[in-house]
Amino acid sequence: MRFFTQHISAAIGALGEFQRRLTSNLMTTTVIGIALALPAIFILALDNLAEISQDWDGTPSANLYLERTLSEPEQAALQTQIDELAGITGSILIGAEQGKTTFAERTGMAEMLNLLEENPFPAVIQATPVSTLAPNEVAELVNQLADLPGVEDVRLDQTWLQRLQTIVELASRATGLIGALLAIAVVLVVGNTIRLDIENRRSEIEIMKLIGGTDAFVRRPFVYAGFWHGLIGGMLAWILSAIVITVIARPANRLAGLYDSGFALSGPWLADGLTIVATGVLLSLTGAWVAVTQHLRRIEPGEGT
């Protein structure tokens, strides 16, 4: 009970100290907020991207662009021929007209398309290969499909998926590194703020020790100061990342729609937000702890008088 009230009063006292030097403390927490928000935004965006590349069921589908000279019965015949190939489980035929309509619906560019004399979209057959194929077998299959008469081009949508996965991996490594550097920055910023705080309150610390304050008692307000910096900085980071993600979510989702992807960028909600705040608190406590253990012990009431 006594332990609790002492901690609560230390926490409230530290909050009082915080608002006494509000401007400089807010600048520190803003630095913390930005330093936490940057990696948080990247991590959230990458999480979203990683999700789409995982949502993929793993079977790549091959898009066969058909020559424009093919009539509709010829297209249907070609589809039957493809369906019968070993290594293909099924296919969908998307006619040129249908391709145009879908695109117009999705982009709202119907008028522009109508200005064109000819339909720019070729008919496409989306063929799904057997999911157990090895990469070289897939390549062989692609060659086989490309050689079919009436097929102009074949694109395996796995290539962009692989590219995406590579980019995501690269970006997460970069984010990890930058995040680690910014985490160190948060520890140092808080450590330095608390160190200055300790210097400013030197005589107070001496008096506390003089009248029997234990190390834990003297340390407590400074550790709580670190806690408040982390909490407020973390909440700021949460708000900042929510704003940034909301701002970029709309165009990102529209872009994703163009790629026929179910991708929808979602913001940092409760769980992510709590993680951001907890990270901020943890890093700030570390910074405060480092400052306190380095500087508080050195202040002894012995000198002077």
């Binding site: 009230t5 009063s9 506390m208 009248i211």
Partner: protein, 216 residues
């Protein structure tokens, strides 16, 4: 209650502040430490709450040899000793009440009990109506009395005062000494350093006289 045994203190830099002194203060005694400036009075007092450690010899407080005390135990030693300084050592950004309450807050007293004891201590030194004041708005004598209230609020068995009347006029000095006598009457052991020989002489308590770090 407090025993010095062949205590010497040499400060870093080679300054010999105390050169092997031995004496004893029994429980309930009121003792003055006198001597010219630089004789080692402050150093002697500072050895008792371990604000300094002796270079040689031993200091024994309440049957505890202070050389055996670990760093972790020092705060508890200090809580049993009230200290009064010439320069008061008050926190300038806290009210009189909060300054006096500090030892109780540190010791983890309950809020109600803290209030009761702080008011009692302030009443004792005649400053009850100034509890909300800022220490800087008080006179030197009043600040000294706040310092005394803080030293006695947790009712320590030992009080140490280093030149408590150094900056005060004779009437105020007399008043402070009367306060000390009152504490002594209820059983508190007091050691007071002073270079005001006339005042000490007049009060007629036991004196420990220092010259150049040695007992005269």
């Amino acid at each position: 209650m407090i025993r010095f045994h062949g205590v010497a203190k040499r400060y870093p830099g080679g300054n010999d502040a105390l050169r092997g002194i031995s004496f004893e203060v029994t429980q309930g005694e009121m003792v003055f430490v006198t001597g010219p400036s630089g004789a080692g009075k402050s150093t002697l007092l500072r050895l008792i709450p371990l604000l300094e450690r002796p270079t040689r010899g031993s200091v024994i407080v309440n049957d505890v040899n202070l050389s055996t005390l670990t760093r972790r135990r020092i705060p508890y030693l200090r809580r049993s000793i009230g200290m009064i300084f010439q320069d008061h050592r008050l926190l300038p950004d806290r009210s009189v009440f909060d300054n006096v309450a500090l030892p109780l807050v540190i010791a983890g007293f309950e809020h109600k009990e803290t209030q009761r004891r702080v008011r009692a201590a302030l009443d004792k030194v005649g400053l009850l109506e100034r509890e909300r004041s800022d220490p800087a708005t008080l006179s030197g004598g009043e600040q000294q009395r706040v310092g005394i209230a803080r030293a006695v609020v947790s009712r320590p068995p030992i009080l140490l005062a280093d030149e408590p009347t150094g900056n005060l006029d004779p009437a105020l000095s007399e008043e402070i000494m009367r306060l000390f006598e009152q504490f002594n009457r209820v059983g508190v052991t007091l050691i007071i350093a002073s270079h005001d020989h006339a005042l000490v002489e007049r009060l007629g308590y036991r004196r420990v006289h220092l010259t150049d770090g040695a007992l005269a």
